[in-house]
């Protein structure tokens, strides 16, 4: 073996090396003010230009802009596509489904502009519109219903976000409102309410949680840094068309974004928490809630009045005894009070409504289910999750505090409840590493929980107390496990201490049983009244969402290394758009102010990004081709005036997405044919100037949905929990759901299929459904054998074709009519003479000769074979 140089490294260097910080990454010099100002000149930062469409006012404004550019290049717009081509294009683009034969017949017999607009308006108003366009948005927020990583834990109720987006698009919620809800939907003073009274706004914040989460990360802060990196990346690309996350390790290499811009945004995310928010929170100050509390107290009074046990007499005689001292002695020198039920209300953060809005004072908590009061030897005030009766979600949290001592003591009582210590924002509190930060509560007597936090000394943390019915991120499998109604949790005191022993408490003799076998009539009456009052409060479904925590800024991390915090980065929006002053004093995270700044009227990016995305989905390419990056590395707009005019127009029309879509869809530019002509191929080979429409492969969802629609299997039901996948031989891995789903997805549209990070639907993946890890505004359009194999051999495809074979046999009488029907259903047009000859020869002759394809014109199998051949033709999976 030849001698070679040996490179001996120190142990420290090995650590750094292993953390991916090898010296090979060269530091970049900071961005100077002059360079920053120069970058600020990039077109995307500049205000929207005020322009008027060129040419006569009677011309459609979109055509006016496009025609002017074409004319300058000596080109002309192509003629309109044939009616059937146009209708098929319109249906796929607007609702993601093929036009039904009746619509084809209707429109081809009257292809007037008025008829076109009737079709268009009906489609924009249909529920299927939202199902189509929501999927475009889900690509931007990397929608998935699981956390990925080793076990692919489900995020309970994540699917409700998908429904939220569909509803928002169908109702044409103004886009600025939609954006505001995504940033601060949980904080709006008057949230938007759906027809059923549900809080719509809060549901948008679920998008923050479609982020991969590591199972038991060795370094929780690193995990937080990686998570927030992804969350900022999505915020930047989806809403602003900026690659802000490129400024994590250094000032942005190309854009006017500094590292402190990135860390200023980091603070907003860091100050927010994961909660399962109720869609219909009950106001603890409202009449219903008050009535339940009063009924609860009436039970207590009735119970005390009737209780024969002598030990209860003092309580009866002395109302003050209902709220005696906590039984906790004075704290020791080594103790630090974090939060106490009778202390500062600001030390607690309450989400959901189970805990009410004030602590509870009573030595017991009646339980209507058990028809007997549940004894609570927890004297003194405490937070009670069942304050308004069982059945309400309760989540009680503390403010964020540093773990300056080793031990955390929490005084609790409860059943089917749990307490988590969330360190560095790590909500996934699970074994093996974080097991010590999780405790179950299943003891009705007051007792102390003690957490040994030695490995996390000085890390920021907060306490999360949940009764069983409330779901946390770490307990995702709760969703599938029934929980008892008797769940409740009482929390009194949180103490940080150097001592392993909790603070001393006076002995609490358990209160004796009431001394009756059946409650007396007064108590029963009171219990019945309580049950009624409780039942009158709606129990709301929940959705993963953001909740406000303690407001904390982050520091700039030197070269992105979370172990090297440098200067503080106070929370604010991007300097290039909003100056570098910190946002004024904020309560909680400050996201509401962030939303205001991001949506300030002089920020040109949100409307530009929006209209460019809409354009992309109708023409196959944005006016700015790099739809997620309008920065220096993106491409400049092909029609800058048109882009800005559209942005202005959209804002002027109340940020209406449907308005802008309608405008684009009525243009002659949209309606022109896609056929290539010689002149255009020379002067505008890439079709940048839009001398024709573009041929586009259908998206994965449209391919599958078209098969469902054509075969008649489509179940048009909207909304609801996702449909699980059938199991397959190719994909067995950890976290696969136990139950196999229906092979045809119950006929539901593809947007309702379960999006499990580690088990994405293979058919959709073959047709370029993106991996849900980053914003994808422009899907790749690939061409892989898996696509052809799917269409050729997949059982689902065959099943659909068999249905279609039967369908054309049932719905039409002659071979000719059946053939026409088959073409209309699959391709949205009748066959021409050549196709008719080829296809009839196949059905009547070739298929018969090839015995297993059927026996001819009267055999559904022969028609299924024809349908299958058409499904495999390129025309089926492309829109022209």
């Amino acid at each position: 073996m030849p001698p070679r140089p040996r490179r001996r490294v120190s142990a420290v260097a090995v650590g750094l090396f292993a953390a991916g910080l090898a010296a090979q990454a060269r530091p970049l010099p900071p961005l100077s003010d002059a360079a920053f100002a120069a970058r600020r000149e990039h077109w995307a930062w500049s205000p929207l230009a005020v322009v008027e469409p060129p040419g006569p006012a009677t011309t459609h404004p979109v055509d006016a802009f496009v025609d002017a550019r074409l004319a300058a290049a000596g080109l002309r717009r192509s003629p309109s596509a044939t009616p059937s081509t146009l209708l098929r294009r319109l249906w796929f683009d607007v609702v993601g489904l093929p036009p039904p034969p009746e619509a084809v017949v209707r429109f081809t017999s009257d292809p007037s502009d008025a008829a076109y607009e009737r079709e268009l308006d009906a489609l924009l108003a249909s529920p299927q519109f939202g199902e189509r366009w929501a999927r475009h948005w889900l690509d931007l927020v990397r929608y998935a219903e699981t956390l990925g990583h080793e076990y692919d834990f489900p995020v309970p109720n994540a699917w409700r976000y998908r429904d939220y987006v569909i509803r928002a698009l169908n109702h044409d919620v103004p886009y600025d409102q939609f954006v505001r809800e995504h940033i601060a939907g949980d904080l709006l003073p008057t949230p938007r309410r759906g027809a059923d009274g549900d809080d719509e706004s809060v549901q948008a914040t679920a998008a923050w949680w479609f982020v991969e989460q590591t199972h038991s990360p060795v370094d929780a802060k690193k995990h937080e840094a990686d998570r927030i990196d992804n969350q900022i990346d999505v915020l930047g690309k989806a809403l602003l068309g900026l690659t802000i996350a490129c400024a994590r390790c250094h000032d942005h290499k190309f854009d006017a974004i500094r590292a402190d811009d990135y860390y200023a945004l980091y603070g907003f995310v860091r100050s927010s928490r994961y909660v399962q928010a109720p869609l219909q929170a009950v106001d603890p100050a409202g009449d219903g809630y008050r009535a339940a509390l009063a009924a609860q107290r009436a039970v207590a009074t009735a119970w005390l009045a009737a209780a024969p046990a002598a030990e209860w007499a003092p309580l009866r005689d002395d109302p003050a005894a209902l709220a005696p001292a906590s039984g906790v002695g004075p704290l020791r020198a080594e103790d630090e009070l974090i939060a106490s039920a009778d202390g500062d209300r600001a030390d607690w953060i309450l989400t959901n409504d189970g805990f009410g809005d004030s602590p509870w004072h009573a030595p017991f908590c009646p339980d209507p289910e058990a028809l007997a009061p549940r004894l609570l030897s927890l004297p003194g005030p405490f937070w009670l999750s069942a304050a308004a009766g069982s059945g309400r979600d309760g989540v009680l949290q503390t403010r964020t505090f540093p773990l300056t001592q080793r031990y955390l003591h929490v005084r609790v009582a409860g059943e089917h409840a749990r307490v988590n210590v969330v360190v560095d924002g790590l909500h996934l509190v699970r074994d093996p590493i974080y097991g010590p930060l999780h405790a179950k509560v299943h003891c009705a007597e007051a007792h102390w929980l003690t957490f040994d936090c030695a490995p996390w000394r000085d890390r920021p943390a907060f306490l999360q107390c949940l009764d069983q019915r409330a779901q946390d991120l770490a307990d995702a499998d709760q969703a599938t496990r029934p929980y008892p109604d008797a769940a409740w949790l009482a929390v009194q005191l949180v103490v940080l201490s150097a001592a392993a022993e909790p603070p001393p408490t006076t002995a609490n003799a358990p209160l004796p049983a009431p001394g009756w076998s059946e409650p007396p009539p007064d108590v029963r009456t009171a219990l019945t009244a309580l049950a009624k009052a409780t039942a009158a409060l709606p129990v709301s479904p929940t959705i993963p969402s953001l909740g406000d925590g303690t407001g904390v800024d982050e520091h700039v991390f030197v070269r992105g290394d979370h172990r090297r915090p440098a200067a503080p980065a106070p929370r604010r929006f991007l300097r290039a758009l909003d100056g570098d002053a910190p946002l004024p004093v904020m309560a909680g995270s400050g996201r509401l102010q962030l939303a205001d700044r991001l949506l300030r009227p002089d920020n040109p990016l949100p409307p530009r990004v929006l209209v460019n995305r809409l354009w992309h989905h109708l023409f196959g390419r944005g006016l700015v081709r790099t739809v997620d990056n309008l920065g220096a590395l993106g491409e400049p707009p092909s029609h800058p005036e048109l882009l800005d005019w559209l942005a202005h127009d959209c804002v002027a029309h109340g940020w209406s997405i449907k308005h802008t879509l309608r405008l684009l869809l009525t243009s002659a530019t949209y309606r022109q044919q896609s056929r290539r002509g010689d002149a255009g191929e020379v002067a505008d080979a890439d079709n940048v100037l839009l001398h024709r429409q573009n041929v586009r492969r259908l998206e994965a969802e449209a391919v599958r949905d078209a098969l469902l629609a054509a075969s008649g299997r489509l179940d048009a039901t909207c909304f609801g929990p996702s449909i699980e996948l059938p199991h397959s031989d190719q994909i067995e891995a950890r976290g696969r759901p136990r139950a196999s789903g229906p092979p045809d997805g119950d006929g539901r549209r593809s947007i309702y299929l379960a999006m499990r990070r580690n088990f994405m639907p293979p058919m959709l993946q073959a047709f370029d459904l993106p991996t849900p890890f980053a914003t994808v505004g422009a899907r790749s359009v690939s061409n892989v054998p898996a696509q052809a194999l799917t269409l050729a051999n997949d059982t689902f495809v065959h099943t659909m074709c068999e249905r279609l074979g039967q369908r054309v046999l049932d719905e039409a009488g002659t071979a000719d009519d059946r053939l026409t029907r088959c073409y209309l259903l699959l391709l949205g047009r009748p066959p021409d003479a050549t196709e008719r000859r080829l296809a009839l020869a196949f059905v009547g002759d070739v298929a018969v000769a090839t015995t297993d394809l059927g026996a001819g014109f009267a055999d559904p199998r022969s028609w299924a074979a024809l349908a299958h051949a058409l499904v495999n033709s390129t025309e089926f999976s492309y829109r022209r």
């Binding site: 692919d152 690659t243 490129c246 586009r696 194999l789 390129t874």
Partner: protein, 465 residues
């Protein structure tokens, strides 16, 4: 006379070959030469030394101290408190020093240390280029799996095999460039370990299952004649509409793709038919071994050779299930090591001999290893926890120096202390041998020119002949 189908396609290809194929690959490589089959670009930065890679992926992280990294001090300190500071571990249940679980011997002319757990592989010691100083960035399986496969610890990037397939394409006209032979255990993180990420989907790993249907949708639902009849009709209708409505590169590519799919459909059964392999070779691989995991892995290894023979660029093998949760021996380490070694030992030794005998080893890189190693101190009493700070991988063939070792860990086999090799360095060197300069091999996504190696990586010339 109407133009034939072939004419039509040729006209479409040649007519539009100069156009940027925006519909197919938004950002083709600047250096690319387009594969005539409509496949991916072909990258050649310098003359390649190897054509193919077989990645024997040891899911879970084998304990190198028990297999390759001989440390007398570890044996001497067995049962004593561990003498070095310990990094945080996945389970934080760290015990005393745990000595090697088997005896080591010098093997072959090169005198490489290999333990008794791998007797067959030991006979191939002179073919191995052993890297004893690997380091990785992650202690958690999924992150470490993504990191080893994609150069990045989170989901969504392109796998090494996908990069190779994207850059070099497949030499087979009837098989994809990147094939995963799934022995039964998809590693934590799922099929995203083999994904194309932001690269065009054609470069993603095609997973061939060893149980049930080998490839999704590879088996026709009807007789060959019936399928041919349908395909003929589809082709005739496609030709007709292209002529009538005008062509488009996207449509032409889709037609081409259908043809590749049909070729694959025919090629796969032929690939899987091992009847032509000699009884001697079957025995050598262990195809008829008593132990089922060995039989499965033997079939995977033999198929890997057959795939490479047919021009598939990158073949990755995942492990069959031995009932010990992969190579992840947090406890019961002796039983786990015994069964896992039994599973892979004979088939891998056979693969190396078979490749060499056919002259394929020179141009095929065989890579063996897991996402990290294991701690030299115990987890509990008889387990080892995850250790990314120093572990062993080995390479054979493909221009790697045979019969050598590179790098060293400390005297316990805990951390790499001499010539640490990062995963990025490994990726860089593999690409280099395939004729690719990792710094010039980029793909524009989300505003950045992304590389397999991020901003890291150096060619490990010390490992190369």
């Amino acid at each position: 006379m109407p133009p034939t189908r072939r004419h039509l396609l040729q006209r479409l290809w040649h007519g539009f070959a100069m156009l940027p194929l925006a519909q197919l690959a938004p950002r083709p490589l600047a250096v690319a030469r387009r594969d005539p089959d409509g496949g991916p670009a072909l990258v050649r930065h310098h003359p390649p030394r190897a054509r193919n890679v077989i990645f024997l992926y040891m899911d879970g992280g084998p304990s190198c101290q028990d297999l390759f990294d001989y440390k007398p001090r570890l044996a001497a300190d067995d049962g004593k408190p561990f003498a070095l500071p310990m990094e945080p571990t996945q389970f934080n249940d760290n015990g005393n020093t745990l000595g090697p679980r088997a005896r080591f011997h010098r093997r072959g002319d090169s005198g490489q240390w290999i333990s008794d757990l791998l007797p067959h592989l030991a006979t191939q010691a002179d073919r191995l280029c052993v890297v004893r100083s690997m380091v990785a960035d992650f202690s958690e399986h999924t992150n470490a799996n993504y990191f080893l496969h994609t150069g990045h610890g989170l989901q969504g990037r392109a796998s090494l095999g996908a990069w190779v397939g994207y850059g070099l394409g497949s030499e087979a006209h009837d098989l994809p460039a990147f094939v995963v032979l799934n022995g039964g255990l998809i590693p934590p993180g799922g099929v995203d370990n083999f994904h194309s990420g932001f690269l065009p989907a054609h470069s993603q790993g095609s997973v061939f299952a060893m149980r049930g249907a080998t490839i999704a949708d590879i088996t026709p639902h009807e007789a060959a004649a019936a399928q041919r009849a349908k395909a003929a009709l589809t082709a005739a209708l496609d030709d007709h509409t292209l002529l009538r409505d005008g062509g488009d590169p996207a449509l032409a590519a889709a037609i081409h793709n259908h043809e590749l799919a049909f070729r694959m459909q025919a090629a796969v059964p032929e690939l899987l038919d091992l009847d032509g392999e000699s009884p001697r070779l079957r025995r050598l691989y262990g195809l008829d071994d008593d132990y089922e995991p060995t039989r499965i892995y033997a079939r995977q290894c033999l198929l890997a050779r057959r795939l490479v023979e047919r021009g598939v660029r990158f073949v990755e093998l995942t492990c069959p299930d031995t009932g010990h949760d992969r190579w992840d021996q947090h406890g019961k380490i002796d039983a786990g090591l015994r069964d896992n070694c039994r599973m892979v030992d004979r088939p891998i030794a056979a693969l190396l001999q078979d490749l060499a005998a056919r002259g394929l080893l020179d141009e095929t890189i065989v890579l063996f290893g897991g996402e990290f190693g294991r701690t030299p101190f115990a987890q509990g009493s008889l387990g080892r926890d995850h250790n990314p700070f120093g572990f062993t991988m080995w390479l054979a063939g493909g221009g790697f120096r045979a019969g050598t070792s590179f790098g060293e860990t400390d005297e316990y086999g805990y951390k790499a202390v001499v010539d640490p090799v990062s995963v990025h360095d490994l990726h860089t060197t593999l690409l280099w041998q395939l004729g690719i300069d990792h710094e010039r091999f980029t793909y524009r996504f989300g505003g950045r020119d992304l590389r397999l190696t991020d901003v890291y990586g150096r060619v490990l010339r010390e490992l190369l002949t």
